[in-house]
Amino acid sequence: MISGEIFYPRRAQKCCRVGAVWPPGTVTYWLCPHPVWWPVPRVTYIEPDGHAVTLEVKSGRTVMSAAMEAGIEGIEAQCGGNLACATCHCYVQEPWLDQLPLPSEDELLMLGNVAAERRDNSRLSCQLIVRPQLDGLTVQFPERQS
């Protein structure tokens, strides 16, 4: 525990890699080689007006899906995560960009056509799957999505 940080109990989820083991989803939780309870990762969303909201997002969920449920401003996600609309565009804040799996070819193509400015840290939030290793991930939503 870092001194100065307020400690409070957090919900926990068993195993660091539910659904993350190759091939995905085949290793169920009682076969998991990492018998540790991990805290549910926290993701911080920065809305277009600069307002920041931090949510606990269960491992395996997408950054988009949790933002939609919580009604975060600045995301539309019209296609529901099917990589068809590019309206869940976000900017990944440092130091998290390098921690994420690289975008697929399709995601790169979609990113080439986002409504707001495309930056080096642009990603589609429906393609970002939350993992315990990403605890603290911070993303910012742009002014416009469509």
Partner: protein, 416 residues
Amino acid sequence: MNSQAPILIVGAGQAGVQIAESLRQEGFGGELSLIGEEPHPPYQRPPLSKKWLADGGGGNPVSLALRGAEALARRRIDLKLEARVAAVDRRAAEITLGNGERLRYGKLAFATGSLPRTLPVPGATLESVLYLRGIADSQAIAGAIRRCAAEHRRVVVIGGGFIGLEVAAGARKLGAEVTVLEGLSRLMSRVTAPVISEAFERVHRAHQVEFVFDAQVVELRGSGGRVELVQTADGREFPAGCVVVGIGVAPDDRIAREAGLACDRGIIVDECSRTGDPLIAAAGDCTARRLPDGRLQRLESVQNAVEQGKSAAAALMGRKRVFCATPWFWSDQYEVKLQMAGLSHGYDQVITRGDLNKPAFSAFYFSAGRLVAVDSLNRISDHMLAKRLLDHDVLPSMEQVADASFDLHGLMKQTA
């Protein structure tokens, strides 16, 4: 009337949520209620026939959430779930719920969506004859498909449109054998050119889906109440472990019609989502939009629900917001992504760009020499470009599209 009098929204889907949230953004401070029939908070429907179904329908409904109850409560949107609206009394400005409760409204919005068309043949009410509308339907279909896969029985899909083909693809992924019965001579014939239909037919055949075209289903038969056989007009019989019917949807305009609003297979609205009653707006699948030339347009898409929802909210606040963006649609079947921009209805010529066999190509639809729509298969950048070209009315000529070496992206940049 006080502009802050309560507003009721009937229907808690994509359009309903959009109306509610846009009303708050437009500065509405009064009471706001969102009334939905299903037990789930508002959720995204498109994955129900696509990824969610192919993943077995066993996913947590939370992953589909459009807005959680807490997020709505934070915006002071009162979510009433499992509440059916029985009637609307426009003279008294109140609605009656299924449990007899009466709610007064200052203004009202319909976002009731659409209902799957039912099969008008004997046996259509047998068990294991399934339709897709909500989460429960998707779960039931996934369950029936898995049972078919385990019992080595065929899944018979009636209708070769979007829903039918997406369910067929999902069923193959879950390991079941699939037969698709289509009433016309090709797939998705109402919305796409033959070249797209053929490409999808090849993809599905490569995944061992069996197709029967010009199949008029006349009867479903079963034993013990469960469907076992589908019979067509030419006397052929198709054994079935379950039947999924995807023969289109009909706007759910019953309550509005009974309340005396003008309806013609959908609640008739203008380009700003206003109905004939100044206190009532409507948005999404349940509407039929009157175009300037008098025709009625029915769009069934998320984009339409969102855009009409924004217009409806503005209309309820006494403002005018016209929905004029290019309509777009998409479908996912196996590894093939179909994205459509514009409405191809009434086209007279189709020009393709790309590789038809892979498939990775786009079909450009022209009407009287003018580009009206583009369907793209696994050509994401073509689709995104087409949306921008059509939005900005920067239309390439037929010669330019036909010339494979012509850079269409350059066209947009020149005018930007």
